[in-house]
């Protein structure tokens, strides 16, 4: 991944922006798409995002009574499943930096009757407002690429995990085949913004989505970043030909 050359600058899609402004720009994107986020996810991935999340859930190894943080949890897909897994004795904390997404997630989970063991927190992944060693598992699904300082976020997650606890990062990544990469590029830079325009009347946000995926670290770089942040036994699983990868690391 190429880093912006200017100090205190970062990527916002293909644009280079000041680090302080990325958070606000990303917030703008998600305020805009929150209401139709689930529908767009289903359309963009043909429902396959549910399978990616299901596999992540299997890797989590979460059991009854455990405490789980679903970071950048958005509309609560993973939190809903974790809520059933941890049962009445466990707790799921759904956290997102964006209050619009959090509201959509809370309404959705409440409508599903999942209220007993779920808490909601508006939190920045770089500075998690939780004490050290308090979660058995942390997941961040399609959220890390929107974080300004990814290394700080990984360190923060490492801090709040219990020793032996696991971090799972589900994120778009680099396709393993060149042909698939070309098809995927054509899809995400032409069809995706058009769908965003048609369904959510917002092509810019989906243009950002495609660009931010290309700027996100590839599989091996992200794995190295996790090791650097203090995680052990780091590994990743490519899914759908590497379009998506799930990374797993354990806090020693």
């Amino acid at each position: 991944m190429s880093e912006p050359s200017e100090p205190n600058s970062t990527h916002f899609g293909y644009k280079t922006v000041h680090s302080d402004s990325k958070e606000e720009l990303v917030a703008g994107v998600f305020h805009s798409v929150a209401a139709k986020y689930d529908l767009m996810n289903d359309l963009m991935s043909a429902g396959v995002h549910r399978l990616w999340k299901r596999f992540t859930l299997e890797l989590s190894g979460v059991r009854e009574g455990q405490v789980v943080l679903d970071l950048a949890g958005g509309t609560g897909d993973l939190a809903a499943k974790f809520s059933r897994l941890v049962g009445a004795e466990g707790t799921v904390v759904l956290a997102d930096i964006n209050d619009s997404m959090l509201k959509v997630g809370r309404d959705k989970l409440t409508d599903l009757g999942l209220v007993q063991n779920i808490q909601y927190t508006q939190a920045n992944a770089e500075h998690l407002p939780f004490p050290d060693h308090c979660f058995d598992c942390i997941t961040i699904a399609f959220g890390l690429r929107n974080v300004t300082d990814k290394d700080a976020a990984l360190r923060s997650m490492q801090r709040v995990l219990k020793p032996g606890g696991r971090l799972l990062v589900l994120e778009f990544s680099k396709p393993s085949s060149k042909l698939l990469g070309r098809i995927y590029d054509a899809y995400s830079f032409s069809l995706l913004p058009a769908m965003g325009k048609l369904i959510a009347n917002d092509s810019d946000s989906y243009q950002y989505l495609a660009e931010s995926i290309r700027k996100h670290p590839d599989q091996d770089t992200l794995k190295d970043m996790m090791i650097e942040a203090g995680f052990a036994r780091c590994e990743y699983y490519n899914m759908t030909g590497g379009i998506v990868a799930v990374h797993r690391g354990i806090k020693p």
Binding site: G47, V48, R50, L51, W52, R54, F55, E58, L59, G61, Q219, C234, E235, Y236, Y237, N238, M239, T240, G241
Partner: protein
């Protein structure tokens, strides 16, 4: 380390998700099987298929059945073998006998596996429900009807092919005897065996009476 199974996890997960919906859908209308399955709650089954290479964990809970490709922990029952061996066990009327005399390798609790096999045998899976939930009602119904027709055609082709092969081997090529011919032959052999026994007994009797003289 890059962890990668031979099958893309997306496909593996899709297959397991579809199967899980189908099984739980069938269980929804079968309270007896659901009750029996609830008794296995907490038990972890691990099925390792070597050809084709697949791994599957089956976790019954009080409400439903979970199928996973990955499970962190140890299984209570592990069964290893080829797909054909698993199919034989699934269809077996006597699963204990199939386990003892079959090719499958069993580790752990066999009684739970026998209970699971009897539940699985009774289940009538409806493939339309998971397909409809994955692809929508219209496409799901079409695919479900296609699968049912395909399976029906497959069964008819199998019965017809078995019958034709049997006729060819017995009547056209005369390589094998027909069942009535075999029965007649076995009867003749049995009669001959009995006559030989009787003859042997008579000879023994005659030899004994000669010695007494």
């Amino acid at each position: 380390m890059v962890s990668q199974s031979p099958i893309d996890p997306t496909l593996h997960t899709a297959a397991l998700a579809g199967l899980e919906v189908a099984i739980n859908g069938a269980l929804q209308w079968d309270p007896g099987s659901r009750q029996k399955l609830a008794e296995l709650s907490g038990h972890v089954f691990h099925f390792q298929c070597q050809a084709p290479s697949l791994s599957l964990y089956l976790l019954p809970t009080r409400e439903r059945l979970r199928l996973c490709a990955i499970f962190e922990g140890s299984a209570d029952t592990t069964l290893t073998g080829n797909a054909s061996d698993f199919a034989k066990l699934a269809k077996a009327t006597d699963p204990a006998n199939a386990l003892i005399n079959g090719e499958l390798q069993l580790q752990g609790d066999s009684s739970a596996l026998i209970a699971l096999q009897s539940i699985a045998k009774q289940l009538d899976l409806d493939w339309e429900a998971p397909l409809a939930s994955l692809f929508g009602d219209v496409i799901g119904h079409g695919l479900g009807r296609g699968i049912r027709r395909g399976l029906g055609l497959g069964r008819r082709v199998m019965i017809s092919a078995t019958s034709a092969l049997s006729a060819f081997l017995q009547q056209e090529s005369e390589l094998l005897a027909s069942p009535p011919q075999l029965a007649f032959f076995y009867n003749e052999v049995s009669q001959l065996s009995m006559r030989a026994d009787r003859l042997e007994a008579r000879i023994d009797k005659l030899a004994g009476s000669r010695e007494h003289r």
